[in-house]
Subunit: 154 residues, 4 copies
């Protein structure tokens, strides 16, 4: 796992997660199944939150979930078994009860180079365990402010 | 399985697939996992193609796949275990090597009523088994023309 | 969906679920991924319970789950995309807090014939939503007795 | 990732893979879905093969797969989201065209202690891309011999 807060193609500080494409994510077309990219992206967001100092577990400990209400994904180049990838994750904006992630998956192409394979944006709402929208925890928002240098939703 | 070609909220003739939300699609938030809606939508598209008279198997028999290059999905209301749902699937447009589906998932709310829960659009490219773009089979396009009454990409 | 209570290769009355192998269950080896057979078997057990008159939903409405503690599976012949299959499901035995299913998947080979592809046994324990073992509901056991003609664990 | 060839509860030298339980593997019962433990076990076997010096990719480069023909799994204690686990993987025996893995998943319980949660054995056959049984590659068997100190199937 590598971490980074340097400027990047993503508009805000982002976190970088490295892994290899697992066998079980690949479908009969020999590439990752389109619905399984969301596993890889989720692993990236989990690492982002841990790096931020507010792991997803902390949401759950308060009986909260971040539930996805909208997403879009562009599959520019298919990911294949065992490829080394980097998942870049950044928070694009947040409001009192919602936030959006922008994520990209790069494939290592050798010699330290990489190419952009996948771009996604995911909007999520904070909900309690009964499914009712809830305000994002104040200490989480404070960390977002600190890391992004932004005062609010950007 | 029910079929239909009557006018609908979707702009073009569409196919309707009925099923119950399976247990294994549900995650710890008690709703279908966001990446697993693509299983349900895929089942709808498979039924659409079978209804059209050109099952996905026919693509594979010609060493072709329809690979997804872009998608967006709005999760308006979460789907829960065992709910009766209807998946509506329509082809929005097609070009020589690509096409786009528009799909919606409705939940039965009793008394014959239903509510819109999920909306998605998926763009796919026809590729051969080596991953190279390929022209959509002519007989498939002929069926699309016949069913939609459209001459081309709409 | 077809139902049956006639004698069979399985030792007890069993339920039969028919479906086609979905695209999303198949992996890069062109057969159903070994962990995904448990999706198909689960669909079979859900149908069994519905047929018995005690759908899984009834367990959940009482804050109960049937959690799997042991399973074994023999993959005699691989299942491939779009094949028509029949899942046979039977309860082998039950005790106060546990029960075991025996299940088989057959593939239609044409002309009404079929071949055995998969055999599995799954032992499960009834637990409440806190994960503590719980006695199987009495009305569920009464239905099992009635259907199997057995007084107890057989 | 940690590696080890020291004696262990498993009868032969084994490899140890460390990870955290991902969110997407957990089902509505708040534990890993029974069919998804096979994802975790597969990650363990992939690491074992890489550590052995014969990554799964090498099989695929020769148009070979190791296809699972039989498995059994005991779920002693359920794995939950975000728990730190260790997957121990060992080859129990091999023959000319087949081999068996024994695997265990331990959960870290703090203070360097851990508890056994899952035990599994998986038998697989080497097949070519047409699904026909094939002899295990000689250099793979040579590595197994070297690592296990066994001459044959044990």
């Amino acid at each position: 796992m590598a971490t980074s807060a340097k400027p990047s193609e993503l508009a805000t500080p982002y976190h970088r997660t490295e892994l290899r494409v697992p066998l079980f994510e690949v479908d009969l077309g020999q590439a990752v199944y389109h619905g399984n990219y969301f596993h890889l992206l989720e692993l990236g967001r989990e690492e982002f939150l841990r790096w931020l100092g507010y792991p997803y577990r902390s949401f759950m400990d308060q009986q909260l979930h971040l539930t996805i209400v909208e997403l879009s994904c562009a599959y520019r180049k298919a990911l294949r078994y065992d490829e080394r990838i980097e998942i870049h994750s950044a928070v694009m904006w947040w409001r009192s009860r919602s936030l959006a992630f922008e994520q990209r998956i790069y494939r290592a192409t050798g010699g330290g180079d990489s190419e952009l394979c996948t771009s996604a944006t995911l909007t999520m709402v904070c909900v309690n365990f009964n499914g009712r929208p809830a305000v994002l925890p104040a200490d989480f928002v404070a960390l977002l402010r600190q890391v992004t240098g932004k005062d609010s939703e950007g």
